[in-house]
Amino acid sequence: MNQFRLFPEQASTASHQTDALYIFLWSLTSFFTLLIFALIVYFAFKYRRTSSIAPQPVRTDMRLELLWTIIPLVISLFIFFWGAKVFFYVYHPPRDSLDVHVIGKQWMWKIQHPSGRREINELHVPVGQPVRLLLASQDVIHSFYVPAFRVKQDAVPGRYAVLWFQPDKIGEYHLFCAEYCGTQHSKMIGRVVVMDQQKYQDWLAGTPAEESPAVAGGKLFESLGCIKCHGEKAPTMAGLYGSRQRMIDGAIVEANEQYLRESILDSTARVVAGYAPIMPSFRGQITEEQLMEVIAYIKSLRDPATLRKSD
């Protein structure tokens, strides 16, 4: 890996799009920088001081002014749309992605696969499979960054963030924390291993069986007492995930991961219409990992018609 290079490896579907924009922008930058440079050199040589007679003033040419107002504007708008297009791609995971849970803490990444397999600072993924990461942070802001995939997302404490990519090249790639997070920020690194499907299955199978997050979440759902109310005094969990619910104040909210998180931690903040705000808050009672497990459990109870591969 020690050879000199200008581009990081291209190992995801997004990386090709990002690089195309990057190359276009460098062409544009080189063109304008060289244009200005050439003009300055040319003028500086052509109009160098050769006499003591002051030159005559030059009148401002309105057409020129308009020209170099409008051309940069048009180019800027073009880049804006291109950038936005890539951004939309990077921010909209396909529905059949593999859901992997990632928790950042000072100074490591804790990762759990849907099968239950856990890793630290390493992420194994199969090639060609869209992977959707649900990111949380336990302490300060971190940022999950894989240069070879050209993706990055801050993990902000107190909320979930989502990041997805579809690796298209087998190999090992850097994983960095990109948001400064304290003393060992630069040691909060690891690797992403992209394997072919068969090897990935072997890798999953090659470890002692662990409880999947959904199963663990189901147990928590019982031991924390959730099961006592939900279904009668409180909304049932079956088919809840991904559905749209009406709140007490009339607002319509999609029951996504962020909403489930909020309802567990700040249980009275947004309550479904028809129910009393009686649920206790679990803030401080439950770790980030347990929270993700409970949510995985609730997700596993969704309407089978909307099932994703991950379940």
Partner: protein
């Protein structure tokens, strides 16, 4: 001010005003324009200063609407807040009258109005301190003794909101009203200084600009309260 008029009355003003005209200005009109404009610019800065904190408050007010409404409803004293609003509005009136008397060279009335303003400002601060004391005794001061729900409350069953969110309300309550009270204290200092100057006969019909500028500052402080009062006390 246009350049021509500045030129024409320059000599006249110089004769009259050698005492009060700073060396960098040509005449009193220019000096007055500069200090008035300077005060407005300063108030623009102040506006952004409070604006930043108010924006943060409004964001959380939207996030945690119920908790903030409950905190306001159950723990803010509307009577005390209303009295304070009235006190502050009166002080704005006395300041306005003071500026009026200053512009007519009525020194005694000016001093009386300035003293009245200082009195009203102190009354406001005393009432505010009383409120702070009540809140302290109800264990509502974040960072000192916040405990929620508080031990003594008539209707504990109504306090359903999440304690951290109520605490957030009180963080902003103390931050905003504290900043406002600090501005009031500075204002009292300024008016004491102005009163002393007026006592020594420094102001006249020609020169009362400091009274006018400190008056503008006071109206601004008043205006901030006019925003804080409904946001913190009334908005349930």
């Amino acid at each position: 001010m246009d350049q021509a008029s500045r030129g024409s009355n320059r000599d006249l003003s110089r004769l009259e005003a050698s005492q009060i005209l700073a060396h960098q200005f040509d005449d009193l009109a220019q000096q007055k324009e500069a200090s008035n404009l300077g005060t407005w610019a300063f108030l623009a800065t102040e506006l952004m200063f409070f604006g930043g904190a108010l924006t943060a408050f409004v964001v959380y007010r939207t996030f945690y609407a119920d908790a903030f409404a409950q905190a306001s409803r159950e723990h803010m004293s509307i009577p005390l807040g209303t009295i304070n609003t009235a006190v502050l509005l009166c002080s704005s009136l006395t300041v306005a009258m003071g500026v009026h008397y200053a512009s007519h060279g009525q020194q005694r009335k000016l001093i009386f109005m300035l003293l009245a303003t200082i009195g009203l400002a102190l009354a406001f601060l005393c009432i505010k301190a009383t409120e702070y004391y009540i809140e302290y005794s109800h264990q509502l001061v974040p960072g000192l003794n916040f405990h929620y729900p508080p031990h003594h409350h008539a209707h504990p069953e109504r306090l359903t909101a999440s304690p951290p969110h109520v605490e957030l309300f009180f963080c902003f309550y103390f931050f905003l009203t504290g900043l406002h009270a600090l501005h009031m204290i500075v204002g009292v200092g300024i008016f004491s200084f102005i009163t002393w100057k007026a006592w020594r006969g420094k102001y006249s019909e020609q020169y009362y600009n400091p009274v006018e500028c400190s008056g503008l500052y006071w109206h601004f402080v008043d205006l901030v309260w006019i925003f804080l009062f409904p946001l913190l006390y009334l908005l349930h």
